[in-house]
Every structure is written in C-alpha cells, then in structure tokens.
C-alpha cells in the first residue's frame, strides 16, 4: 500500500492550478470558501450535458433513465460518505445554507413555540445564526449562545449550563470556518439529547476534512455542501433522521414532491422527494458523486495527514513573523490559519497578496459576532486543501513579509 499521497500527481488533476495570476503561478489558499475542482468532476458535468441531459424521475425514455440513475447514485454515495442508515435520509438542497433554512422553516415552524430556547455558539457562520433569529423573532423564542475561550474553543461547562427543558434545538458548527476549531459534536449531541433537544450540525467545513458518521455522532440533522468537497457549486445535502423527516411539514411545493394533486387535496411524495420540489440541480448533483469518489480514492486519512502537515508547517512559519498573531489555537483544529498583524488591516494584506498571485480570504468570514468577541475587524485566512504544498506556504510567508514591508 502506498504510504503517502503523491501531491504532484494530485495537482495535475486540477486544471486551475496551472493559472497564472498577476504574472505569478496561482497559490490558492481560499479552500475553506470553496475548493478547486479536479478534471474528473469537470468531465462529469460535460458528459452529462453532452451525453444524457434529461429531466429525471418522470421520463421513461433512455436519457431520462440514465440521468435518474446517475442522480440517485449520488444519493447512495452521500449516504455511504456520511454513514446514514438509509438513502431516504439524504435530501438534496442548494447548499448548507438552504439545508439549515429548510430545517428552520419546517421543523422549526412546527416545533418552536414562544419561550422555547435555541442554542448556537459564538463561532457560528451567519447562515447558522440568521435563520434561527428569524424563527425566534416569529415565534417569540430565545436564542442562547455558547461562549468560547481565548484559544477559540467552546466553553463546554457554559454549554451544559445553557441546556434546560426549554431547549428545543442546538444548532452547532462542526468546524469553525474562521478559526478552524473542531467542536466536540458527539459530546454536544449527547448532552442535548439528555434534555430532549434536537441537534443540527453544520458540517460545511468539517465534511471535507473529517470522517463523518452521522449515526455514531447521533446527529438529528447534518448539513453540508458539495463545493467545499471538490464538487460543483449549487448542491447541498441535508441529512435528517428518518422519523424526524417523516413528521416534518413540506418546505416548498411544486413538482417532484407530490404523489397526487387535485384542487381539493394534494398528497406528498415519500422521502426524500417530499423535500425536493421542482427540477433539481441534476448536472451538479451527478458530478458531486465524482468528487466523493475522488476523495474516497485518495482516502480521508491520508488527505488529513497531508493537510495536518501543512497546518503544522504553516503555523510554525507564520508565527515567526513579527507582529503576527494566529486567531484560533484550538487543540483540535483543521488545516486553516486565521491571523492578524499589528497595525495592518487584513484587506490590505489580501490585496497585496493577490498581487503576488496568492489567494487568501480576508474579512469577518461571515462570522461577525465571533470577530466582535475577538475584538478584531477581521482576519486574513489561509485554508489548505489536499493539493497545497509546503513550497506554497513558503511563497505565502515570503509574500507576506514583502507585503508587510510595504504597509508598515
């Protein structure tokens, strides 16, 4: 068995990595925003459109059957990828944000009443804050927030104190997009279940790095997106426990999600179609399976090993830069480094690194309450994927040193 990944061979599978940006070879360190796509994923899109483009589920012609089979094969691949107990528990959405909103608008509207409490954390992405704020406002429910420590880890004691019989839902991010912190979701879920609360896990950042087993985790809902997993944009997944999904009211009405329609009464389709109104994003969903196969073939453990080396190396190198502080120093962390530099605005760093062909993300990372907690306007974030290298980190460090010389 091959012990280590051949990163050069992997890089050759990503056409965009050949790009020249501002006369320099691209260094892409914005993977937590979206990952690049391997040729096999791009090919899957082209194959679908040039070979068997058809609307799915209803057609009886050959193309429709092929497209339906390919679309449903992705559902099976997702089921295995997160170890769901049945394919009916896999709902396709537009992305993590829509998955969370689906739960807020269906399960949330059905179960949340005035005075009920919903728990989130300080490190949530706006997409796991705003849907619950909207719901709380509508229902007169209360949003509670788990605080964090200086390292960027949840204060679990405080979390336990927030839990009470009024807690109906805990919606928690698995891995912070701004800090990289891996939250102890299993422990969080166990505690929530003891008080009878339901738990949604936002897996947008975790699903590409960690092994996901929704049964072992015992998550009631798990949401993630294809595009952060080397797959196409515009496809997300909502996993839900079957008994919860069965009892939930429908999200959107239309085609696909019905059994029979008359003007007196409409009966809804079975799971998972009940939640998939209208023609779905067929091409991207089909190509998503190719991305999952790509990850499985490399092996998540080996990917993690490589990414952890980058994290370790990058942390070591970056923290030698005078005035630089790393934001988020959790013991359990994925391969992203958020940092600030004294007297320098992150936006200026981002503009000048881009001038050197280095793509990082700067700003509040859609986590403004977290930035407020850290008393900073934003950070510069370098996030690593399987195709990144130590040489690229060296380029980032050198580019950053030159950038800071210009700015200070």
């Amino acid at each position: 068995m091959q012990k280590r990944l051949d990163i050069d061979a992997i890089r050759r599978q990503f056409p965009v990595l050949n790009r020249i940006v501002k006369s320099q070879p691209l260094v892409y360190f914005d993977n937590a925003a979206t990952s690049q796509k391997p040729q096999v994923v791009i090919d899957a899109l082209v194959d679908y459109y040039s070979g068997y483009n058809a609307n799915i589920h209803r057609g009886i012609h050959t193309l429709a059957e092929e497209a339906t089979a390919a679309f449903e094969a992705t559902r099976d691949a997702v089921k295995t990828f997160i170890n769901a107990s049945s394919r009916e528990e896999i709902i396709f959405t537009r992305g993590t944000t829509e998955s969370i909103n689906l739960v807020a608008y269906t399960w949330g509207r059905q179960h949340i009443k005035a005075g009920d409490e919903i728990i989130i954390s300080t490190m949530e992405h706006h997409s796991n804050i705003v849907p619950w704020q909207v719901l709380c406002e509508e229902k007169g429910a209360v949003l509670k927030v788990i605080p964090i420590n200086e390292e960027g880890e949840l204060l679990m004691d405080e979390y336990e104190k927030l839990l009470n019989p009024k807690t109906r839902l805990v919606s928690i991010v698995h891995v912070s997009n701004a800090l990289g912190t891996v939250n102890p979701v299993k422990q969080i879920i166990e505690a929530a279940h003891r008080t009878g609360a339901v738990v949604l896990v936002d897996g947008a950042q975790s699903s590409v790095h960690l092994d996901i087993d929704v049964q072992e985790m015992d998550a009631d809902f798990f949401a993630f997106s294809s595009h952060k997993l080397y797959g196409p944009t515009g496809v997300g997944v909502l996993y839900g426990k079957k008994e919860l999904l069965l009892a939930m009211p429908v999200f959107q009405g239309g085609g696909e999600m019905i059994k029979e329609v008359s003007f007196n009464k409409t009966t809804y389709a079975d799971l998972p179609y009940k939640f998939e109104a209208g023609t779905p994003n067929i091409a991207d969903t089909i190509a998503f399976k190719t991305a999952i196969d790509f990850i499985n073939k490399l092996g998540k453990e080996k990917i993690r090993q490589h990414e952890n080396e980058l994290l370790y190396y990058g942390t070591e190198q970056l923290q030698q830069i005078p005035g630089l502080s790393i934001i988020g120093r959790a013991k359990e962390k994925v391969s992203l480094i958020s940092f600030v530099v004294d007297k320098v605005h992150p936006q200026d760093i981002g503009i000048l690194l881009d001038n050197r062909g280095i793509a990082v993300r700067t700003g509040h990372h859609c986590a403004q309450p977290l930035m407020e907690r850290c008393k900073i306007p934003g950070t510069t974030r370098a996030s690593f994927a399987v195709y990144n290298t130590k040489e690229e980190i060296d380029m980032l460090v050198a580019g950053l040193q030159k950038t800071l010389k210009m700015l200070l």
Binding site: H345, P346, Q347, D348, T362, G363, H364, P377, L407
Partner: protein
C-alpha cells in the same frame, strides 16, 4: 494665488503620475497609493462618529464635509491604508469644489490608473459608497443653497 485647476486637469495630473510608474509593476503602483494613504492627515476623532461611517464589508471609511464660500471641503479616513490612498486621490480631485462640479465629475482617472476594481460593486472597501456620499453632500449643499436664495 494661481487659478484652481479643473477636476479634469487634476485627474490628468494623477494619470500622468501613474504613467511614470507604468514601467514598474503592480506592487510599485500600490506602494505609491500606500504612501498617499500614509500622508493623508489623520481625521480628528470628533469626526469619527457613526453618522460619518461608510461601511464596506471589510474596511471602514469615515467621511466628513464642510461648506464654505460656495465650496465643499471633504475630510476622510479609513482603517485600511490602501483605501486611504484611494480616498486621498478622491479628496485631491473633489475637495474645494462647487457642488455642481462634484455632482458632474466623471472620475475617469480611477479607471485610467487601473484601480477600477476598487470601485466595483463587489469590492469590500466602501469606496463606491464613498463617491456616492461625496456627491450626495454636494447635492445637499446645492439644494440648501438654492433654498436660501
């Protein structure tokens, strides 16, 4: 006192200054902008009030205006030094002008010096909003003036 250059003439001046840098790379261009940013006098804290904030997604701009002898004078600041550099050019072009001049300014120089992307709708620095706000001030002073006459 020499006669004030027109907005277009000042814009041309800036374009010429950047043209000298043409043979240099993008980084030198930014070095020039950063220097301008560093040289912009800091805004007194009394102006850094919420009413003067123009919020971009990332950096913040503070903009204050005065109307004296028929001319609008701008003062501004930002927490991003690159944004400050861009602001200093806008002030150089637009400050001390009659409202109509400001309202009608095309500000083509931003495009000509290759900084158009900073004015794009998607840019996070609030610069586009700042230009709009400068023109709004000019319009407000013009209307106020007209009401007085």
């Amino acid at each position: 006192m020499s006669e004030q250059l027109s907005i277009e003439a000042v814009e041309r001046e800036i374009i010429d200054e950047f043209a000298l840098l043409e043979s240099w790379g993008e980084n030198e261009k930014y070095e020039f902008i950063i220097d301008m940013g560093k040289n912009l006098p800091p805004l007194d804290d009394k102006y850094k009030v919420p009413e003067n904030i123009i919020k971009g997604c990332q950096s913040t701009v503070w903009l204050a205006a005065d109307y004296t002898n028929g001319k609008v004078f701008f003062k501004a600041d930002s927490n991003s030094v690159i944004t400050k550099g861009l602001i200093s050019m806008l002030i150089r072009v637009l400050s001390g002008r009659a409202p109509d001049e400001i309202i009608n300014a095309q500000l083509d120089f931003i495009n000509a010096i290759g900084m158009r992307s900073h004015l794009a709708q998607t840019r996070a620095n609030g610069l586009l909003a700042m230009v709009k706000q400068m023109k709004n001030y000019a319009l407000a002073y013009k209307l106020k003036n007209a009401a007085k006459v």
